[in-house]
Symmetry: C2
Subunit: 387 residues, 2 copies
């Protein structure tokens, strides 16, 4: 194989392709590499960790068709030290030579046939979705997904079509975030669970390429999803298993209503976290003589309280508690000036929303202690949580 690629184009590709590199030592050593494939004047670059594969077309010129593997870490370091050069890549299954300006590297390599390239069939006829849906899911929903790979469905973001729209939801069993879109999305004609990491990956690709629309196709008998832009394809496994019946977890609107200034609450939670993180991560909302306070304490260092300018409706004698990390996640994900907390008391979850009716599309539910209450189909949720 021999190709020429501009460094700028290659660096851009490599920045999102590297999202698909294995984070641990992979079982197949070829996955430590980018696969470069040159055929019919098209240069394609692959990266994969088996769960996710990204393939992107680079702008360049093919002098000799073929395939080579290039060590990903070495290529990334090399590109970061070059200044706008043409890159010549030439190699076979033994070694690959990369020249840029006055510098040249020669790398040992492996047989490119060892790289697991995804089957490229059934890719036609997907449905188009604006990238904004994934960006909103990334910002407002993904934080609530579990990062523990052992937790199955809870590591994913659930896309569920509704009669008049689409629900996007994630939960780790302790808090839940729900986005209710009023537009139906033809790409999501049936429910599916996309790994939270994949949502970040596709946003990164769309942003780097400056595209607005993403084409989606389910393949592999419903086990895989392919996101396509003009130059790039992202193959991801779908999460198997049943997603908890989240609608049963969302409490009815009743009980106490507290309206906060989001910035003020965010700053108070950050200060309280200095003490809360020494213990069980708990911060408390308590009513005192002169109003509402956020309170945290540490057996080792001391305690903190901050008075909040909040409007309280319903019960006046409050004492409720949350994990400060969950509060920070929600408060950072919101763009509202004011947020509303509703809860029925010290044991029930808190429901966080925008105060503005037309923006109630984003709801975050945070348990006060322990896990969220069981959903309707208890066995399903138990299974999902234990997975």
């Amino acid at each position: 194989m021999k190709v020429i690629i501009f460094q700028e184009n290659l660096s851009k590709k490599v920045s999102f392709l590297s999202r698909a590199l294995p984070t641990k030592t992979p079982a197949i050593s070829s996955l430590n590499n980018f696969l470069f494939s040159a055929k019919e004047n098209e240069i394609r670059i692959f990266a994969s960790n088996l769960d996710t594969t990204i393939v992107s077309t680079a702008t360049g010129k093919v002098f000799q068709e073929g395939e080579v593997l290039i060590n990903a870490k070495t290529l990334i370091s090399f590109l970061s030290s070059l200044a706008g050069e043409k890159i010549v890549i030439e190699g076979d299954e033994k070694k690959v030579k990369i020249e840029g300006g006055k510098t040249k590297i020669v790398l040992k390599t492996e047989n490119p046939n060892d790289f697991p390239v995804p089957e490229e069939k059934d890719l036609e006829g997907g449905k188009t979705t604006p990238k904004g849906l994934f960006e909103e899911a990334m910002k407002k929903v993904c934080f609530a997904a579990s990062t523990d790979e052992a937790r199955g469905a809870l590591t994913g973001v659930f896309f569920e079509p509704e009669e008049k729209g689409l629900n996007v939801v994630a939960t780790d069993g302790f808090r839940l975030s729900l986005l209710q879109k009023k537009e139906k999305s033809p790409a999501f004609s049936s429910s599916l669970i996309i790994p939270a990491k994949t949502v970040f990956d596709i946003c990164s690709i769309a942003q780097e390429e400056g595209v607005e629309d993403i084409n989606i196709k389910i393949i592999g008998g419903g086990k895989q999803i392919v996101f396509s832009t003009k130059e790039t394809k992202l193959y991801s496994r779908l999460v198997e298993g049943d997603f908890p019946n989240y609608k049963k977890i969302i409490p009815e609107n009743k009980g106490i209503k507290i309206t906060f200034n989001r910035d003020e609450l965010l700053r108070a939670v950050k200060i309280a976290s200095i003490f809360a993180k020494d213990g069980a991560n708990i911060v408390k909302l308590q009513t005192g003589e002169s109003g509402l306070f956020l309170y945290a304490s540490s057996p080792q260092t001391g305690e903190n309280q901050t008075q909040l300018e909040a409007k309280i409706e319903g019960e006046k004698d409050l004492n409720i508690a949350f994990n400060f990390r969950f509060l920070l996640d929600f408060l950072n994900s919101s763009e509202e000036e004011e947020v509303l907390l509703q809860t029925t008391g010290p044991l029930s979850p808190g429901v966080f929303r925008s105060v503005k009716k037309e923006r109630k599309a984003h709801t975050s539910i945070i348990a006060q202690s322990g896990p969220l209450p069981k959903a309707g189909r208890e066995e399903d949720q138990e299974r999902a949580i234990k997975q």
Copy 2:
């Protein structure tokens, strides 16, 4: 004690005071704290790791004289989450209350008498030095000092008065950096070794306070140095032991002369380092058919060579080797467009300088393999290196 301090002033003080905090768990637990001392309407804050103590005067108002210890980590976190408030600090040896805006923290504390405050005597009559001397030492000399605390004199920067100026020099036994100032400095009437970290500390204080001049006084029978600005004092131990006879290490000017563009060489060394760091950190300068090349290889990944636009005088058949980290340190410390390397051959050290005669004040000497050659007083240097 009860005082009011503006958050902005306190945050600024804390940013350089924290440089004197212990990096490991200290033998005396009080050193985990800042000591606040209020007396005669002056508020002073102390931080210490025993080797270094910084004390700085804060702008504020004293309501009640006294002293309190405040956990340094907690105070730093607390201040970073506040937005321009007045801070009220009130406490005794049991607990301390800190209020800012609508938030309040109450901290457990210790007896302020347990904090080792430096003796404040013999501080009058120091000599003034422009901060620029220390900034130049920080940028051009400190990198060559050893970071291994066990290496005694080699962890320091040697300030040696000359008949017509001042030499500032550091070496870790493998490379050496020398700054030759043509002005004499009254503060350095005899030689002394200042810990490299202290040079960074005093630069940080001068920069944060925006002062130009620093007053210097040697105290404690020549074992301690005190740097004073208008608001702050930095007490540091001096490094004991003999500094190697560095003048004997600097080779005579003869042999091969190579002139490099500094940016070009820097970029080439960065690329070569991708391969050199897998092995012995070695990069080589070699003459090939078409000129001079920088070369590095790794048994695992491959090799790199970069052609350099260098001017070579003397020997034409070159093959010399350096640790790439030492080259990066020197090249990053220089501001010259062109740098000159002189060496007598593959076993002798390389001498790096500016090509411009009037700027030859900054010299860096890098061994090609193993340690630098012994200085004249061999026993002294052996001792210094073994310390």
